[in-house]
Homo-oligomer: 189 residues x 2
DNA sequence: CAGCTTAAAGCAAATTTGTTGCGTCTGGAG
DNA sequence: CTCCAGACGCAACAAATTTGCTTTAAGCTG
């Protein structure tokens, strides 16, 4: 268990900061554990003991940066709100930086908990949008349906086929998902 | 450029074989470059120079193992064929071994070409199934539609939310995708 | 088919990274 | 206030990675 306060927390913050600084200075691929340790004012063995290796540390940092900082904007209707959110999600995730974070988050993640957290972030944002629409009396698809038919295709193509993507693709996915509002049978989870 | 035959080819084959053998003997996570080099009868520097690092080598091997070895079975109609294929795809990919291969394929892949190859394998299989159905006069969805609404959700959940998945989820995705046969607007690619 | 060219492999030294045992420090509980 | 446990620092050690140079052999070319 990581202690919540005091020195442990300071070390954690300073290591994370060192990663962010160095990543922007020398590039993500040039990072090494000893380099990060020195910048953070910490010995390498501290990092190895606490995070295991560079990948797990990067995964930890990546999840932090993928956390949404604000609730999605409330535009009028569901179709507009979801489209706007999907476009923004696409822009963030499909950028070189976003792709690197996604890869890092998936990479150093032995038990899948970091990846699960990323997915939960998206689910929360979608939930907010759908709840607002439901309160307005709109007919809405299930959160899981939006994940399956909007988020998943975006992530799949970002990860497996990064070429020829643009925001119009995100819009099309939302339009298709909207047609599934009534007929869909949501998955198990 | 990698020379197509002779010694280069022998080294490549022997290194790949060494990876497969050792992975089943000591476990994937215990592999190291020097260990693989010794088993393959090669010096470590050969592997470093040719593949860069362990991740890229593992990615290379993983793509080999993710390549389908046979054309999908031809059952009667489109719905059955696609469902059968999706179930098999799900079983292979969601297994611990399959998940490990997917991760490896994505991880050591600086330019995304290995991931693209994996995606192309699935697209080929789907194409075969859809072409057969079209020749039978059936109304079929687009290949890209099947990728977006069947393959992508499966991969997304395997990567980001591995819990609570089963084959019935794959069946449900196929059923939903079939309803998109006429109305879908396929994505750019 | 003999000679030439050059990519790729071998070898070994040097460097860098990762591991581990042990003593010290510091939150936080009692 | 005192004690305990977990986390950190330090340093020696072990392992992996990089690199300059040499050697081998694939595939042309004449």
């Amino acid at each position: 268990m990581v202690r919540p306060g005091g020195r442990s927390a300071r070390v954690q913050a300073s290591v994370h900061a060192a990663v962010r600084e160095l990543a922007s200075e020398v590039g993500r691929d040039a990072l090494t554990v000893p380099m990060i340790a020195q910048r953070a004012g910490v010995t390498p063995s501290t990092i190895y003991r606490r995070w295991g290796d560079l990948q797990e540390l990067m995964s930890d940092v990546a999840v932090e940066r993928l956390r949404p900082d604000t609730a999605p904007k409330d535009i009028g209707d569901l179709a507009s709100s979801l489209t706007a959110w999907a476009e923004q999600f696409f822009d963030e995730m499909a950028s070189p930086a976003g792709r690197a974070y996604i890869r890092d988050a998936l990479l150093g993640d032995p038990d899948g908990s970091n990846a699960g957290r990323c997915s939960a972030y998206a689910a929360e944002q979608i939930d907010i949008i759908l709840t607002r629409a439901t309160e307005r009396g709109e007919n809405t698809p299930d959160t899981e349906t939006v994940i399956d038919h909007v988020v998943a295709p975006l992530m799949y193509r970002i990860l497996f086929r990064p070429d020829g993507l643009d925001a119009s693709y995100a819009r099309r996915l939302v339009a298709t998902a909207m047609t599934l509002s009534r007929t869909s049978s949501p998955p198990t989870a």
